[in-house]
Symmetry: C2
Subunit: 193 residues, 2 copies
């Protein structure tokens, strides 16, 4: 199967538009943050910096290094979110004729929902990290690229907010109260940016 990231943008937009539930909002949120991180990398890579100082260059090199890793992981999350959602749908379709089947199905649903929560939770964490890095890029990057930093921040906030909606919707079906309490608290903390 072709992955979403190896699909042309035109075909990807068609896939988002179709009544098929995947790809959906979770993959779209990861995509927004991946584009945001990419734009910050561009500004960090420009030959011009804010003042041309060694301090600018060092700060932007540090930002670029962190952003490279974040972009890689956010890109992987675009497909991971769709895969995780497909597993939830498959788990709900498991047989439930006997008590054993019912127990196995319930356990599979719980495992799948947890995985489908962990993907957007990680997107939230990475988007929050990239938003912190955006401040350094704004402070040390070329002032002519300030609109690119602004667009990047808007996309990262949309990715953070969109991932939060996907965390919340999956968390509603998870029965492990210690897990749901910990995730809800972390999601709340990450959203206040």
């Amino acid at each position: 199967m072709t992955t979403l990231v190896d699909t042309s943008l035109r075909d990807l937009l068609t896939a988002f538009s179709s009544a098929d539930p995947t790809p959906g909002g979770g993959s779209a949120a990861a995509l927004a943050s991946a584009v945001g991180a990419s734009l910050l990398m561009m500004v960090a890579a420009l030959p011009k910096t804010r003042s041309g100082s060694d301090e600018d260059r060092a700060a932007l090199a540090g930002a670029a290094s962190s952003l490279t890793a974040l972009r890689h992981q956010l890109t992987a999350a675009i497909d991971a979110d769709t895969t995780a959602y497909d597993h939830v749908v498959s788990a709900y379709k498991l047989p439930k004729a006997t008590d054993d089947e019912k127990a196995a199905r319930a356990a599979a649903i719980q495992r799948a929902l947890r995985a489908a929560t962990d993907v957007p939770l990680n997107v939230m964490r990475m988007s929050a990290q990239a938003l912190d890095i955006a401040k350094a890029v704004a402070a040390h990057g070329h002032s002519g690229a300030s609109s690119d930093v602004g667009v990047a921040a808007a996309l990262l906030r949309a990715g953070l907010e969109g991932a939060r909606l996907n965390v919340d919707i999956n968390l509603g079906g998870i029965k492990d109260e210690a897990y749901t309490a910990a995730v809800a608290a972390e999601a709340q903390s990450l959203s206040g940016r």
Copy 2:
């Protein structure tokens, strides 16, 4: 030349990340809104509606029709923004040895800046329209897809905000005061959503 929309998502993210100034924030803003409009189309196309009523079905059919046109135009704006920016760069590189050359160059810069303002201004208009349509999709669409509507709205707001930054930065170089006043007023009005 391959267009951005015919590029794989993976290669597009690499292009956004590179020190080459295009594609930049303007194309990224159009992309965010194109994904947002696509997600709304998905929800409008689902077999399930909010209450299963004929009213739901009619409202979602109307939304889908408007969204199809908006998605088409927002997708075109992804490449149009990059083309418009490239024309601004080319205009600044025109010769300026003689008075005639200086006048021709100044006029070319003004034309290019105006085109580079009109593209994100249109992205703002279309994002605002799609945000209005999102309210109808939220009211009449399947409640199980509410997180997809929420992600769509977050992306459309990011697209609107990002396009605004690109309108503002280009408007700064335009000398036609009647044009700049009209665009600034419209951008301000569209942003208040």
